[in-house]
């Protein structure tokens, strides 16, 4: 087995082959790729890895390089194959000398927060009126007083509190995607 190369060395043809292996439909493949990457990052983070994105990309890089060898013979859920490779990558990472984490993400600059607020306003505008009212009410109050209010909001919308939470989080998910794109656009090309 060839040793994995760094991710930045992954050639376009290798990446294309990976996508093709994931799904013949290009869009479906791209979606599955993003999902697998997110899952790998979540798993690595839950294992206490300080650089989950880096290791996830390393994992994907290795899988992409091995696709020609496995695509005709591999049977089963492809995501599980990624898990096997990721275990190896993580194992190697644990053998490395400990490096202090450099990420400091809790605090964002005022500038960044202002931009996020502006984008949020734009994205709230794009929601349906019902979704907007629901999400605004859901996030309206602070701290522990929320519980009672959410029961009342759920009653107002004629749904159970659990359903309200699920709906609110799904709207929140849409907002997240929208705000993220908005921030990227407003920040301009890197």
């Amino acid at each position: 087995m060839l040793p994995a190369r760094k991710i930045h060395e992954l050639r376009q043809e290798e990446f294309d082959r990976l996508l093709n292996w994931l799904d013949a439909d290009r869009d479906q493949a791209a979606e599955l790729y993003e999902k697998i990457r997110w899952r790998l990052i979540s798993i690595l983070a839950s294992r206490g890895c300080r650089v989950p994105e880096e290791l996830a990309d390393e994992t994907i890089d290795r899988v992409a390089r091995r696709v020609p060898d496995i695509e005709s013979t591999y049977v089963g859920d492809k995501a599980i194959y990624f898990l096997g490779v990721m275990n190896n990558v993580h194992h190697e990472y644990l053998k490395r000398p400990l490096v202090s984490p450099t990420l400091q993400l809790v605090g964002r600059s005022d500038d960044g927060q202002e931009r996020a607020l502006a984008c949020l306003d734009q994205c709230l505008e794009k929601l349906t009126p019902t979704s907007r009212v629901l999400i605004e009410r859901y996030y309206a109050t602070d701290k522990r007083a929320k519980i009672d209010l959410r029961k009342r909001i759920a009653e107002t919308f004629g749904i159970r509190a659990g359903t309200l939470r699920l709906r609110a989080l799904r709207i929140r998910q849409k907002l997240q995607v929208c705000v993220h794109r908005c921030i990227e656009v407003s920040a301009g090309p890197i």
Partner: protein, 286 residues
């Protein structure tokens, strides 16, 4: 601790996100996350929830430390935090009081509608009761009429439209309700005449269950059935019943006295088999 809890519970997911899941639960959860779309969605939503809890101060001190050290280690998660803060800031600043007021307003509106509906319901019930009290005699009369009156003649007779014209088939003749037993015991007798000029007059008893027995002189065929139809002078049907032909040389029919208002009446005797009027008699009520 997550003993006795499912490895895929919400609690387990929260522990997974904070990198606190015991190793025995880690592997099944990882496999589920990689292979189960629905579970992946649960984890994604749990991420939003834990970020919201952090922003709102709903995490314990140790959870906050775990969140900052173990969860907040990717750019994507930092974005979640940024948007969550913005969302809380925006919604709290703009709509906290507003949403409460709106919720209260909606609740108030619904309460008002309930009260209005209840009031309308009570009014309808009271109105019905009032009508029942005020119009009781008319209602009673209408009900009695419904039972005793012959229905108006349809343009097409049943035998023309639905039934065979074979005369051996039973004829459809609607009879008025029979009189109560005690009314038949001592009926008031009257013998209507075939000519109007000599029509006898009667004053029916005011008793509720009283009856007037109409004695109708007629030679009848014992094998036939006869019906007596009592009509007002204007031809409005009042009462119809099968006539009793057991008496020699006459038919008899008992009419509830309450149906006979002052005025002229005629009695039409109809042969049920031949469907023809055999004789018409007259009497008056004073």
């Amino acid at each position: 601790m997550i003993e006795n809890k499912s490895s895929l519970s919400d609690y387990a997911i929260r522990q997974f996100l904070l990198a606190q899941l015991p190793s025995s639960h880690q592997s099944p959860l990882e496999v589920s996350l990689l292979t189960n779309e629905q579970f992946e969605q649960r984890v994604r939503l749990a991420e939003f929830a834990v970020v919201d809890d952090y922003v709102c101060g709903r995490l314990t001190k140790s959870e906050r430390t775990l969140f900052e050290n173990n969860f907040l280690i990717t750019e994507a998660r930092a974005d979640l935090l940024t948007v969550s803060r913005a969302l809380h800031q925006r919604c709290a600043g703009v709509t906290t009081g507003h949403s409460l007021a709106e919720a209260q307003l909606l609740t108030g509106i619904r309460t008002h509608w309930r009260i209005a509906f209840a009031a309308v319901l009570i009014l309808v019930l009271l109105g019905t009761a009032w009508i029942g009290i005020r119009k009781e005699p008319q209602i009673k009369e209408a009900i009695v009429r419904q039972f005793v009156r012959k229905p108006s003649q349809p343009e097409t007779r049943p035998t023309d439209s639905h039934h065979s014209t074979n005369t051996s088939n039973p004829q459809h003749t609607r009879e008025s309700a029979p009189l109560p037993e005690h009314a038949r015991v001592n009926p008031q007798l009257v013998t209507p005449k075939p000519d109007r000029a000599n029509a006898p007059s009667i004053v029916p008893s005011a008793s509720k269950d009283a009856a007037v027995r109409l004695v109708l002189p007629l030679r009848i065929d014992p094998s036939d059935e006869y019906y007596a139809e009592v009509l007002t002078a204007q031809g409005e049907p009042v009462f119809t019943a099968k006539a009793d032909g057991s008496a020699q040389g006459s038919l008899q029919v008992d009419v509830p006295a309450g149906l006979l208002k002052p005025g002229e009446y005629n009695v039409r005797v109809v042969n049920a088999r031949l469907k023809q009027t055999e004789m018409t008699y007259y009497f008056r009520v004073q």
